[in-house]
Amino acid sequence: MSETRTRADRRTGWEDVYREVGPRLQRALLLYAGNLDLAEDAVAEAFAQGIRRGDAIRDPAAWVWRAAFRIAAGRLKERSRTAGRLPETAYEPPESVRDLVAALRELSPAQRASVVLHDYAGYPASEIASVIGSTAPAVFVHLSRARKRLRTILEDDDA
């Protein structure tokens, strides 16, 4: 087999990755960003970048998770710079997660990323640290605070 794979070959490999992790990544980003367009854009951009880089990426699934979250964080930062806070969205989540999405918006970006990546996506602290540019102990702190804050908010909502 040739050492150099064609672009079509690469796309085929990436499509497998997309089929495997794409939907969960989209949902995680939707929880993180609270914005459907932004979540879809971050996923599409991350995969498009990954395909362009091709064989330089050893672990496409890991790479695309990191890239997509960083892209989403960058987009959120740009928007909040102009909007002053986490951008509002016209997207109306299903009722089963409406409270959760609303509560997540009250967390800091690091807390939000930590709790979504850990409690929804099942990522270990070391990987979360690499995504948000922090340390694993700091991730644990974010996680602890995020859970407490979520419990408090959701408790109050139910009261």
Partner: protein
Amino acid sequence: MPDVTERFRAADTLPARDLWSDIVTREPGSPPPAPAGRRVAAAIVALVVMVVGIAIAVRAFHASRPIVPAGAAANGKILVVNLSGDSAHPISVVNPDGSGMRVLRELPANASLPEWSPEGTQIAFAIANSSSLPTEIWIARADGSGAHMVFRCADHFSVATCHQPFDGLAWSPDGQQIAFLLGSLYVMNEDGTSVHRLYAPDVGIDSAPPAWSPDGRWILFAMTTRGAPGAGGADNLYLAAADGSGIRQLTHCGPVAHAKCAPAVSTWSPDGRSIAFADEATGGIRTIDVDGSNLRTLISPPRGMRYANPIWSPDGHRIVYEEFPMQGSKLPPIVTVYEMQADGSNPSSLHVPGEPILQSWQRLPRG
């Protein structure tokens, strides 16, 4: 009301439009910047260290199998999870001065939350299942060999329970039982039999490992309690009676918004009289007497920094802990391990390589 974990599971109902046709026709923009100063982790291994996690040292004991009496132990090696090395085998041991780090490669991949047995001859640890939740408990020899599973969540509990975050384990001082946090506080025999729930929280137990008292009577854990509507909950330390007769609140930190303390990972003094804990409210290391009195600060971090994961040495003289920058700080994201005298004096950094998270301190017979 569904808890936070159940709410996250419901997120699988969120829409996920097929984006593949968009992806293949998309012209990518410039790559997003990587966070400054951060090492890019090597390949993802889906199931490594998951939790907050620091299993706490301090294993004084007596009771039915008195191996090393409280206060008479010497300091052995410290178990750490090193996140910058082999990501499949992050559990390592180091000498108390930070030297001689050795990866326990014989442990199964993805082992996490290791804890020395009271004798210092075995290690209990959690291991991840296929959905990356550490729902198995294993035991191995001190060198990592002979690992065998003693508890598998699916054999005892529902899927919903097994999807609760696993937040750590603690060995009883007589070595005959293991406590663990899986949404609730559970206790089982060290061979995995007689699994039973000791305490079910109203809201949720925090992501800090439990710690068994040196006299065997109490299991320490952190918990967020429900507050009055609009007032927010409160974070506190609690003591659960090991015989199941109830719990006792140890700290009274007040509502989160105005808390005077917010205990996280905590560690018993070997004599059982005091508890040291990482305080998320101040970022410092604090202590409180076991009767709930005498809350005091041992050491406060410099501006922009935070301390975490204290472990009291088996001989009672020292406490090791970690320092790292708070999120948003301009400081590089580096973890530094420190030690100090048990009264908070003479802090000094240890040169532990990598990105270590302190887990548990081995007790050795004195002499």
